[in-house]
Amino acid sequence: MAKIVLETKVLTKRYGSVTPLDSIDMQVKGGEWVAIMGPSGSGKTTMLNLLSLLDSPTEGEYILDGVGTATLTEKERVAVRREKIGLVFQQFHLVSYLTALENVMLAQYYHSMVDKGDAMEALERVGLEHRTDHLPSQLSGGEQQRVCIARALINQPAIIMADEPTGNLDEANEEVVLELFKELHREGRTIIMVTHNPELAEFADRVVRLHHGKVVKDA
């Protein structure tokens, strides 16, 4: 049986009287593809932010790769995220004044070494070898999201976390992105993906359903 890479115990996030995430107990095994679903405002993004160490919980524990994250300093949290997690956002965040290639190289730069060849390969893999020198504003939404995926993959993270990666894409682009995730899954990477789209969730090993910050279904 695959080892557990990610585990939460009564993980809770509060903003004053609002509790967008309430006592989540969850375990994710290495290589698993987990889809997180639920209505708007149910706490999906909040949960992903906690799992990607972009945010800290109010209560509860989060153990990543066997290490408790509660005592990590901000610097260590950044380092863990850099080493282990590839992030894909719904709004395809890219640095506007850097080209597609440079955006990918930026992740290399923060991680370790800049290798143009590797960055080109990553863009090739998402089908953008002909768009490497374009700025984000010169790319379509689908192309921008593929740059984001290339960037998330460049440092070979074991875990990919994506918040509605196809939320802003048309069907054709959604298909391309889905294919990429299928491939990553086959490679054995752990995938945690927030999505509204049941068709996408179909390919996941498991669907975690949130409602008012609580897990209502996990299958």
Partner: protein
């Protein structure tokens, strides 16, 4: 390592690339920051150039107004004269590069054709350097042992109806000395010398019967970087028969004027730097707030605080150094305008202006970046990334 597919890019190259592109995309803000720093640096450069150059020139000009150091017989000795040899040795104690000019003086009253006058024996080469402001009609005497010629003061020349090239008979009753001398030059000095007649020291000693003696010597010493009081004490200490002292009137007024100018310029510089700092800070704060999402993204994909600080400090420094460089050029031009307008003099560049401009200007830019950089470090990626 990786294949030969693309050129390797070092971290430094990548850093520079990000740096330049991020500046290029914000040309207006960069220009405002650059311009503020440039103006600040230019004004400091202009003030510093004027101050340092004029203070050097002023010290030279005031010195030109006459001697600033006196060597004579010690009053305790009761003598009215000293040996020229002793004076010579005392003068040698002044470092040669600090000595702008020196001459012994011997005085006595003589009778000329139309009346009495004070005769002064001098070393003409030294006198010329002590008195560059003299307006001489005709020529300075250049030969040390010229005992055929003399120079006379303008008033004396007028009173006795003498012209350049005339000869004048000098009579000293006490010694019975009598000699006819050719007038080589007539000097307008604006001082008591206008009524005197000048001959070479040896000739004067002969006329006055004071061989080997002088009444005193006057020196012009470069005051910049010289402790003139200590020098006076050393000379007087080594030669008990001598009295050595700076001529206060000129030295101290020179110092006072410069102190006042310096204080004023320092105040102006501080005010300008404060305004520059505030202006740069405001612009940088705007830049950071415009870039919160970019900063959040950089943090999300692995930039730690140090990387963010480095990026912003490097951007500020780059603009700052460019601004200071431009400011030095503009400031030097401004210094010429100021120099002409206020002092009627061109301003030469002095090395000290470089650090005096560079250090406070760059420090001000960095100070201006402190608050904006802290804002950047405090950006929370989870918050800024979800804003649309």
């Amino acid at each position: 390592m990786a294949g030969d597919k693309g050129a390797k890019i070092t971290k430094r190259e990548m850093f520079l690339r990000i740096l330049l592109k991020s500046l290029k995309v914000r040309k207006n803000r960069v220009f405002i920051t650059f311009f503020s720093i440039m103006i600040g640096a230019a004004i400091i450069t202009a003030l510093a150039s004027v101050y340092f150059d004029i203070s050097a020139k002023m010290s030279r000009e005031l010195r030109a107004y006459g001697a600033n150091f006196f060597i004579g017989p010690a009053s305790a000795s009761g003598n009215r004269t000293v040996d020229t040899g002793t004076i010579g040795e005392a003068v040698k104690m002044v470092p040669p590069e600090k000595l702008a000019g020196a001459s012994p003086y011997v005085y006595g009253v003589v009778r000329l054709d139309l009346g009495n006058a004070v005769l002064a024996g001098v070393d003409f080469a030294g006198l010329k350097r002590l008195s560059p402001y003299w307006q001489v009609e005709g020529k300075w005497i250049t030969v040390d042992f010229d005992d055929e010629s003399c120079m006379i003061g303008k008033t004396l020349a007028k009173n006795m109806e003498l012209k350049v090239g005339d000869s004048v008979t000098v009579i000293r009753n006490e010694t019975g000395f009598q000699k006819s001398l050719i007038i080589k030059g007539i000097a307008e000095t604006g001082q008591a010398e206008d009524e005197q007649i000048f001959v070479s020291l040896p000739l004067a000693q002969k006329i006055l019967g004071m061989e080997g003696k002088a009444n005193h010597a006057m020196l012009s010493i470069v005051t910049e970087g010289t402790d003139i009081d200590a020098l006076a004490a050393t000379v007087a200490g080594k030669f008990p028969v001598l009295d050595a002292k700076p001529i206060r009137k000129v030295s101290s007024s020179e110092g006072k004027i410069l102190e006042k100018i310096k204080g004023l310029m320092a105040i102006v510089a501080v005010i300008i730097l404060t305004i520059t700092t505030l202006c740069v800070m405001t612009t940088l704060i705007t830049v950071v707030s415009e870039r919160t999402r970019e900063i959040g993204l950089m943090k999300a994909i692995g930039a730690d605080d140090r990387e963010i600080v480095r990026q912003f400090i490097a951007e500020t420094l780059l603009i700052g150094v460019a601004g200071v460089a431009a400011g030095l050029v503009v400031g030097f031009i401004l210094a010429q305008v100021l120099g002409q307008a206020v002092f009627g003099s061109s301003i030469s560049f002095r090395m000290i202006v470089l650090p005096v401009t560079l250090i406070p200007s760059v420090a001000a830019s960095l100070l201006a970046a402190v608050l904006p950089v802290r804002m950047a470090v405090r950006v929370v990626p989870a918050q800024v990334l979800k804003e649309d």
